[in-house]
């Protein structure tokens, strides 16, 4: 089983995960389009997935891999519900800018 080359150090995977996560955070914070924000969340989730499988491989523990399946499952459900909400919001307000969707303020 050599789908992971041993000459690639562990830290590289973690670094990639951190970079992807940070991209997700930054995208979430600076983007106004609701769909882009949603994509950023997916990015963060997958960054976390990457660290999970990395550690799972490193410690030869299957728990980490199972976590990843859970995360993917939740992400799929979230995508379905989230996209439905986005469509509903667009129909109601004719915009997808998060700055203009501010009904939470009294």
């Amino acid at each position: 089983m050599t789908f992971l080359h041993h000459d690639v150090p562990l830290s590289w995977y973690l670094l990639l995960s951190a970079v992807l996560f940070s991209l997700g955070v930054v995208g979430f914070l600076i983007k106004r389009n609701l769909i882009t924000v949603f994509l950023s969340i997916e990015l963060m989730l997958n960054a976390v997935n990457l660290s999970f499988v990395t550690f799972a491989y490193q410690w030869q523990a299957v728990k980490g891999q199972i976590f990843v399946f859970f995360v993917m499952m939740v992400a799929a459900a979230e995508a379905a519900v989230g996209l439905a909400i986005i469509i509903a919001v667009f129909r109601a307000r004719a915009t997808l800018s998060v700055d203009r969707i501010d009904l939470m303020k009294l």
Partner: protein
């Protein structure tokens, strides 16, 4: 096996007494519950049956006890009959153990006979007196509640159980004084009685604490045993303090100076209540308490002397007020206060059994006086003013004759009940040294006044012509007449037991009568004759003023207007207390406690806290911008802060360790 042996066997098994002692208070309590909870929905005959069967049951149980005690088995003090070992463990905290003990001894047996016996008669009377009242069931439930607490008070084996009964009868008294609570005067009188009694109870409570602190027990028999075994073990000053506290409590419940003011107002309650609670039983609780704790008082001579002084002063004081009152029930109320003073006087000269003797006869004749007065009021359609009565002799013959017996009894007519008991008190006072002579003389003067005001009442109510348009129209029902006749018979014969027999019987509980070198039958007879002479003088005055020339009474009153006004206004004591205590207290409550403490300090703190909270809210609400991205930024910032904290103060918990386990 004959009946006597059987009784003895049962007694030694402790069966009869055990079962019955708890039954005595329990039966009225059941009556209270049934009538109190279901009374409004039950038919009237059932309410009556429950209300009457409860006290009757208690009375029968007491009679069984009395028979058991009398036949063959002499009543031992406390231990055998007390069944202390059967008592319920009540309070057990640290080293403090208090049982819920009921004790039957000579003193409580005599008292119980009076309470349940007279109580039952007054229950019967109430059936007629209250027949049309919408609160009929409520009335009987209260009356049964009173009997429950009163029997608990009497049977109490320690001070705390007595205090429970003591407070309970206060509650029942309050409920019954304010029975017609729609009437403001009645509601106010109830409140007054309750508050004044609480003042006395405060003293009683302090006395209980002092007893507990110094004796380590509240059981009467243990306190007596401890004090008798080593009289010097307790500091004399402490003993005096305890007795003064107990005396203060007694003055509240028994309406003595300075706390007597609630009793005249208590006459707002239904008349049978006045007869039962505010004449025959509850108000004698103070005397009973002093007799019960007499060992303490015997070792505190200064406090005991004060008991006598309070009693004598109250007796004279109340009798003078009674001279000019026009409300028939008020006359009787002041008379009650005065007679209670006699009982205190007896206790004050250590003649406790004489005090109890007078308590018993007083229960008979005073209950009779009140019930007869109630019969008059009932017939007159609620009229209580003596000036509007008169000539009732022919219209209410049974009431007239029974009332006549009661009047002659209380006045001290020879061979009637009060003659024996009052003379026993006066004789004991006379033998009690120089200070006793003063008390004796005050008692003698009071006897004169008593005779005067009772015959005044008698003349005004029964003789002459009716002085109002209000004609007596109610026929007096049989249920009211029967108790009158029975009480009249008791008022005649109740004293024939004699002081020697009753004090010999009571001596295990209350100690023997004090002996004196001067005592001899001749002296006793002469003193009795002197007392009768004084009573006759009182009668003569009443006769002269109210029968021969009725106009003289008003002439006399207007001849000395200042004195008359002073008496008619009851020495302005209510006004004095009002200005001295009530007004300052109300002002303190309203301004100091109400405005300064409540509004300014407590309210200020509350407003300050509310201000801080709303100010914080005003500042923090800026955070809630509604902008999704700002929330996300705070979230990320928070997560970063937590991460930073974990990195800097690493707890050693990492994903690595989490995965490893």
């Amino acid at each position: 096996m004959n009946a006597e042996q059987m009784t003895t066997v049962l007694l030694h098994h402790g069966f009869i007494i055990f079962a019955s002692l708890w039954l005595i208070p329990l039966l009225p309590f059941v009556g209270f519950l049934v009538n109190g909870v279901f009374g409004a929905r039950l038919p009237k005959w059932l309410v009556t049956a429950v209300g009457l069967l409860a006290p009757l049951g208690s009375f029968v149980v007491v009679l069984i006890d009395a028979y058991a005690a009398w036949s063959g088995v002499t009543l031992p003090v406390a231990e055998e009959l007390a069944l202390n070992h059967r008592a319920i463990d009540w309070i057990s905290v640290g080293s403090l153990h208090i049982d819920f003990t009921l004790v039957l001894d000579q003193l409580s047996l005599v008292m119980l006979l009076v309470v349940t016996g007279v109580g039952f008669l007054i229950h019967i009377y109430s059936v007629g007196y209250m027949h049309g009242d919408p609160g009929y069931a409520r009335y009987f439930s209260y009356l049964n509640l009173f009997l429950f607490f009163m029997t608990t008070l009497v049977l109490a084996g320690n001070v705390l159980v007595m205090f429970v009964g003591w407070e309970g009868v206060g509650l029942a008294s309050y409920l019954l004084i304010g029975f017609w609570f729609q009437k403001k005067t009645a509601a106010d009188a109830g409140k007054k009685a309750f508050v004044v009694n609480r003042i006395g109870d405060f003293g009683f409570l302090i006395g209980i604490f002092l007893l507990l602190a110094n004796f380590g027990t509240l059981t009467f028999s243990e306190i007596s045993a401890k004090l008798t075994a080593s009289p010097a073990a307790i500091d004399a000053g402490v003993l005096t303090a305890i007795c003064l506290c107990l005396l203060f409590g007694a003055t509240g419940k028994s309406a003595q100076l300075p706390l007597y003011i609630w009793l005249p107002d208590a006459m707002e309650g239904p008349t049978p209540v006045s007869a039962l609670i505010h004449a025959a039983t509850m108000v004698t609780a103070g005397v009973y308490m002093i007799a019960r704790t007499h060992v303490l008082f015997d070792h505190a001579p200064k406090a005991l002397a004060l008991v006598g002084i309070v009693g004598a002063a109250t007796a004279l004081f109340a009798a003078t007020i009674a001279l000019v009152q026009n409300d028939i029930k008020r006359v009787l109320a002041y008379s009650t206060i005065s007679q209670l003073g006699y009982m205190f006087l007896a206790c004050g000269v250590a003649a406790y059994s004489a005090g109890i003797f007078h308590l018993v006869t007083h229960a008979f004749f005073k209950a009779l006086l009140f019930l007869a007065a109630g019969s008059i009021i009932h017939a007159m359609g609620g009229e209580q003013d003596l000036r509007k009565m008169g000539g009732l002799r022919k219209r209410l013959p049974v009431t007239f004759w029974t009332m006549t017996i009661a009047v002659f009894t209380i006045a001290g007519c020879p061979l009637l009940a009060a003659f024996f008991s009052k003379d026993a008190i006066l004789y004991a006072a006379f033998l009690h040294g120089a200070s006793g002579r003063i008390l004796w003389f005050i008692g003698l003067m009071t006897a004169l006044l008593t005779s005067f005001y009772m015959f005044r009442l008698w003349y005004l109510a029964f003789l002459g012509e009716l002085r109002s348009e209000q004609h007596p129209h109610h026929a007096t029902p049989l249920s009211m007449l029967v108790p009158l006749v029975i009480l009249a018979l008791l008022s005649i014969g109740g004293g024939w037991i004699g002081i020697e027999r009753i004090s010999a019987y009571l001596s295990p509980s209350t100690g023997a009568l004090p002996t004196s070198a001067e005592s001899n039958p001749h002296l006793e007879l002469n003193l009795s004759l002197l007392a009768v002479a004084f009573a006759v003088v009182g009668w003569f005055f009443a006769d002269w003023l109210y029968r021969r020339r009725p106009a003289r009474a008003t002439q006399l009153a207007s001849a000395v207007p200042a004195a008359y006004q002073l008496l008619a206004n009851k020495y302005y004591v209510d006004e004095f207390y009002g200005a001295m205590f009530v007004k300052p207290l109300l002002a303190t409550s309203k301004y100091v406690l109400g405005w300064v403490i409540d509004v300014a300090i407590l309210g200020g703190i509350a407003w300050l806290l509310a201000g801080v909270a709303s100010l914080a809210g005003m500042i923090l609400q800026r955070w809630q911008s509604g902008n999704l991205r700002s929330y996300a930024a705070w979230l990320a910032l928070g997560a970063a802060a937590v991460l930073l904290f974990v990195l800097l103060h690493g707890t050693g918990f990492t994903f690595a360790t989490a995965l490893r386990h």
